[in-house]
Amino acid sequence: MSILLRGIAKQFGEFAAVENINLDVPTGALIALLGPSGCGKTTLLRIIAGLETPDRGQVLFDGKDATSWPIRERRVGFVFQHYALFGHMTVFENVAFGLKVKPRRERPPAAKIRKKVRSLLELVQLDWAGDRYPAQLSGGQKQRVALARALAVDPDVLLLDEPFGALDSQVRHELRRWLRRLHDELHFTSVFVTHDQQEAIEVADTIVVLNRGQIEQCGIPGEIYDLPTSAFVHRFLGQVNELPVQMRQGRAHVGPLDISLNAAAASDGGNHIALIRPHEIEIGPEASGWPAAVLAVRVIGSIVRLDLHAEGQAANEPLEAEISRERYEAERFSVGQKVGLRFRRWQVYPADAARTAPTGATA
C-alpha cells in the first residue's frame, strides 16, 4: 500500500510538532524518518498510524483519504520502542491477540489461529518461546515478539517507532539486518523512526531527514550522506569538522587552504562555514598542506582516528581525521608528530547564527 502525506501539520499547544509535511511512500518501500529528538518524526509516524489526528493536511492510503479513519481500520502494524507486549499474556497469546479480537464472522477458527501464530513465531525464530511470559525474554526477543504480533493481522503497512532504541548495539545490529531481510521477503510498506543515522543508512531505501517539524532532505542513503543540502543534514549524518571560511583576495580559504573550488556561494559576503568529514582529511608530510600536530591517536578496529591541532586553530577544538588501519600501519603517526593537512572534499554552507562557533581566527 502506498502512503501519501499532503500538507500535514500538527500543533501541541504552542509547539508546532510538524509543519506542512509532504511525503510519498511508494508501495513496498522501507523508509526511515531520521532526526534529533523533538523533530516531529514520532508525531508524523503516529499521524500515519491514526494515533494522532493532524490539524491540517491529508493522509492518503492507496490514493484514498484516510485522514479520519480510526487506527483499527487502517491495517497498520505498529511497533513501539518499549515493545508494549501484554505482560499478562504468554508470547503465544500476544501474537494471537489481533486474530482473537476479530469480529466472530471474520475470526479464523482456533486451529488456524494456532497454526498462524506458530508460523509467525518460527519466522521470528521464537517458536520455542510460545508459553513464556514477556518478562522472561530479553529485549531483542521481546521486540521480535512485538513484530510477530504486528504481522499477525497481515498489515499493509508496518510502522516502527525507534524499534531498536532500547537494545544494546550488538542485538541492534542483528535485528536491523533481520528487519531488512524480513522486509525484502514480505514486501510490506514500512516506515520507521530513528535518531540513529547509521541505523537509517543500514536499513532504509529512502531516508527522510526531519528538523523542527519540517523535512530537511529526502533521498537514498548514499545521496544524503554524500550530498547533503544543508549544514543540518551534513552534521546529522556522521561526524564533521566545522571550520570558518575566510575570504582573501576574492578567494575562499579555510586556514591557509584555498577552497574556492566548492565555495562559490561564499563570495556573496556573509559568514560561511566549511564542513569536512573525518575521512575527507588527507594527512601528508608537514610541507604538503596546512601544518598541524597530532594530539591523539585512537585505533578503533579497522579505522584509526587522529586528533589534530591545525596551526591557528584553538587547541581545545582539534580536527578529527580518520584513516584506514592499513594506512596507519604503514605510516605510524605518533603523538606530537608534525603533519600537513589537505581536504579531499568539503562542503560550504552559510553559517547560521545559532550554530556558528567562533573558532580561533587565523593569523
Binding site: R72, F80, A84, A150
Partner: protein
C-alpha cells in the same frame, strides 16, 4: 610498625583471619538491627495487634453465650445487614466511577483535567461531618430538593438512599486514587497496540487495560469497602439513627456503647473487625490461589530461564 602487622596477618591461616576480624565488625550492626526490629514490633503490637485483641477480649468478657446473643439481637442483625447492603451499593458505584475517572485522567488529555483531579480528592479533604451536612442541605426537608422529593414521596435523608449517597461520597477517592498512578505509569502503548491490532475500545479495556490494573483495582476496592463499612461521621449525620432501619454497624456500636452495653457494643465492633479481616484474608487467598497473578502484570513470574541453543 604497620608493615609488621601486615606481614603478620599474611601468615595467619584463613580461619584465624576470620576469627580475628570476622565477628567484630558484625556485632554493632546486629545490635542496631535487633533494636530496630524490636521497635517496629512493639509499634505494631501497641497500635495494631493490641486494639484488635482488646475488641475481641471485651466482646467475649461475659462469655460466648452473651456474645452470640448480642450479635443475634434483631437490632444488631439489622445493622449488619444494612451495612452490607450499603457497602454492596457504594463499592460497585465507586468501582465504575473510579475506573472511569482514572481511565480518563491517565489516558487522555482534556481541558479541566486538573480540576477533575482536585474534585476527586475533595472527599478526602472535607470532614465527613460536612459531607453529611451537604446532603442534608440538598435533600433534607428544608433543602434545595426537599419539596420536590416530598411531593413524590421519596425519602433520601434519614433513609437508606441518604446513607448510600454519603458513603459513596466519602469513599469516592479510594479506587480512583489507587488507579491513577498505576495507569499513568503504564502509559498508552498497550492500548494503542491493541487498537492497531484491530481491537475495539471495549475489547481493549477488558483484555488489556483491566488485566494491567487488576491489583491496584483490587486494593482500591478493598480499601473502599473497608471504609464504606466503617464510615461513621457522614453516615451519622444523614441516617437519623432509626434503630432497625437506618442504623449501620458503626452507629449501632456507638448507641450500645452510650447505653453502657459494653458486651453488645464490642460484639458488634468485633463483627466489624472480623469483616475487615475477612476482606484481607480474601485478598491473600486470591493471591495464593493464582500465583501467576501475584506479581504485577508488568512482571509475570520469573521462572528459571532455559535458553534453547
Amino acid at each position: 610498625m604497620q608493615s609488621r602487622v601486615l606481614a603478620a596477618s599474611y601468615e595467619m591461616s584463613d580461619a584465624e583471619v576470620s576469627r580475628a576480624h570476622g565477628p567484630r565488625p558484625r556485632r554493632r550492626p546486629q545490635w542496631g538491627r535487633l533494636l530496630l526490629i524490636a521497635a517496629a514490633l512493639s509499634f505494631l503490637g501497641v497500635f495494631l495487634a493490641l486494639p484488635l485483641l482488646a475488641v475481641f477480649v471485651q466482646a467475649l468478657a461475659m462469655g460466648v453465650g452473651a456474645y452470640v446473643a448480642a450479635i443475634f439481637d434483631p437490632m444488631a442483625w439489622a445493622a449488619v445487614k444494612l451495612t452490607l447492603r450499603i457497602a454492596a451499593t457504594a463499592v460497585p458505584l465507586n468501582l465504575v466511577f473510579g475506573v472511569a475517572a482514572a481511565w480518563a485522567i491517565a489516558k487522555f488529555d482534556f481541558r479541566g483535567k486538573s480540576t477533575l483531579i482536585s474534585l476527586i480528592d475533595l472527599p478526602f479533604a472535607v470532614s465527613p461531618v460536612i459531607a453529611g451536612l451537604i446532603f442534608i442541605l440538598i435533600f433534607g426537608t428544608h433543602g434545595w430538593f426537599g419539596g420536590t422529593l416530598r411531593a413524590h414521596h421519596i425519602r433520601v435523608v434519614f433513609a437508606v438512599p441518604g446513607i448510600v449517597l454519603a458513603t459513596t461520597f466519602v469513599t469516592f477517592p479510594f479506587i480512583a486514587r489507587e488507579l491513577i498512578p498505576v495507569m499513568q505509569a503504564q502509559g498508552k502503548d498497550d492500548e494503542e497496540t491493541a487498537l492497531s491490532l484491530g481491537a475495539s475500545g471495549w475489547q481493549t479495556f477488558w483484555r488489556v487495560t483491566l488485566p494491567n490494573i487488576r491489583w491496584g483495582l483490587l486494593y482500591g476496592v478493598l480499601l473502599c469497602n473497608a471504609r464504606a463499612m466503617g464510615e461513621f461521621g457522614a453516615v451519622s449525620v444523614v441516617s437519623g439513627h432509626i434503630r432497625g432501619l437506618t442504623n449501620t454497624m458503626p452507629l449501632h456500636v456507638e448507641i450500645l456503647y452510650n447505653e453502657y452495653n459494653y458486651v453488645g457494643a464490642f460484639a458488634v465492633a468485633s463483627l466489624l473487625a472480623l469483616l475487615a479481616l475477612l476482606t484481607l484474608a480474601g485478598k491473600s487467598l486470591l493471591e495464593w490461589r493464582q500465583p501467576e497473578l501475584r506479581h504485577s502484570a508488568r512482571q509475570p513470574p520469573d521462572r528459571t530461564r532455559r535458553e534453547r541453543t
